[in-house]
């Protein structure tokens, strides 16, 4: 067996915020009818959470589910369990108009924390990241400078950012630059 590694091997940078590559994460893209009871039960079995409402993330200790579009979820599971979870999910969804795919190795994940986290993210995304507008549990797909990205904010004030693995280096450099110690704007 080969030994899977994440895109940047846990690279980290600290400035007005701390940027860390989070390592390997199990991710399953699921498309289907989000109103279906069967799909809801399959998601619960795989992740331990109910299907989140629009633009929200539902988190459990081991993973969770993020609302990607009216017919798409991103399921987060432990990296080592993704194949088993996918098989169970596919079996549970037999007969439903749905599709689940393992996208774990197509993604990179970053954590962004610290006092300057909102400001760092706001520099590179066209999103209102003020404390009133962007609250814990919210999930947003958007553009991070020149690439697509998605992120959510957890109860601990930490942003988790998901992007394509092929642009992991770009996103890390982008966030590190936006978090440069001498770059504080103080807008939030």
């Amino acid at each position: 067996m080969s030994d899977p590694v994440s895109a940047l091997n846990g690279a980290a940078f600290s400035g007005i915020a701390t940027v860390e590559e989070a390592g390997l994460a199990g991710m399953i893209t699921l498309r289907g009818d989000l109103g279906s009871k069967g799909l809801g039960a399959a998601v619960k079995a795989a992740t331990g959470v109910d299907i989140p409402t629009a633009n929200k993330v539902a988190l459990s200790d081991e993973g969770g589910a993020a609302w990607m579009s009216p017919d798409e979820l991103l399921l987060m599971v432990p990296y080592t369990e993704v194949e088993g979870k996918l098989a169970a999910l596919t079996e549970a969804l037999a007969g439903e108009h749905a599709l689940a795919v393992n996208v774990s190795d197509a993604r990179a994940v970053f954590r962004l924390s610290g006092d300057g986290a909102r400001e760092t993210l706001a520099k590179v995304c066209p999103v209102d990241l003020s404390a009133e507008a962007f609250v814990a549990g919210q999930f947003r797909r958007t553009r991070m400078a020149q690439v697509a990205a998605a992120f959510w904010l957890d109860e601990g004030g930490v942003f988790t950012i998901v992007c394509f693995r092929s642009v992991a280096d770009y996103v890390f450099n982008l966030l590190s630059n936006a978090a440069h110690p001498h770059s504080k704007v103080g807008v939030y």
Binding site: S69, P70, E72, P126, T142
Partner: protein
């Protein structure tokens, strides 16, 4: 700056999060139509100064196509609406009429 509210995810998306899809509500002329009809379908687009109906895609977001009614002169947005329609819903037409009485666009008034 143009901001459109995506009717599928509800996000108020800034223009750079969107992809412009050109004129809305085109009627397709394919096999069986005349050369002139096919030519017009393929090439002839409205480029009005004022009320316009367009297709947009929330490309760096939920990924869905939708429609927008807006003013090309002022960037004022009258409303956005579902892609699953052949013409603007009455609520959108009313919103345009409230701001631009006497407007017309192709066969719409």
């Amino acid at each position: 700056m143009l901001i459109l509210e995506c009717p599928y995810c509800g996000v108020k998306a800034e223009e750079s999060e969107l992809h412009a899809g050109g004129e809305a509500h085109l009627k397709r002329f394919g096999p069986g139509s005349s050369d002139a009809e096919f030519h017009d379908y393929l090439f002839m687009r409205k480029n009005p100064r004022g009320v316009h109906f367009e297709r947009w895609r929330h490309i760096n977001g939920c990924g869905k196509w939708f429609h927008a009614a807006r003013c090309t002169t002022t960037l004022e947005v009258f409303g956005t609406y579902s892609a699953q329609t052949l013409e603007p819903p009455q609520a959108i037409r009313d919103a345009v009429s409230a701001k631009r009485p006497g407007w017309s666009w192709r066969d719409l008034k």
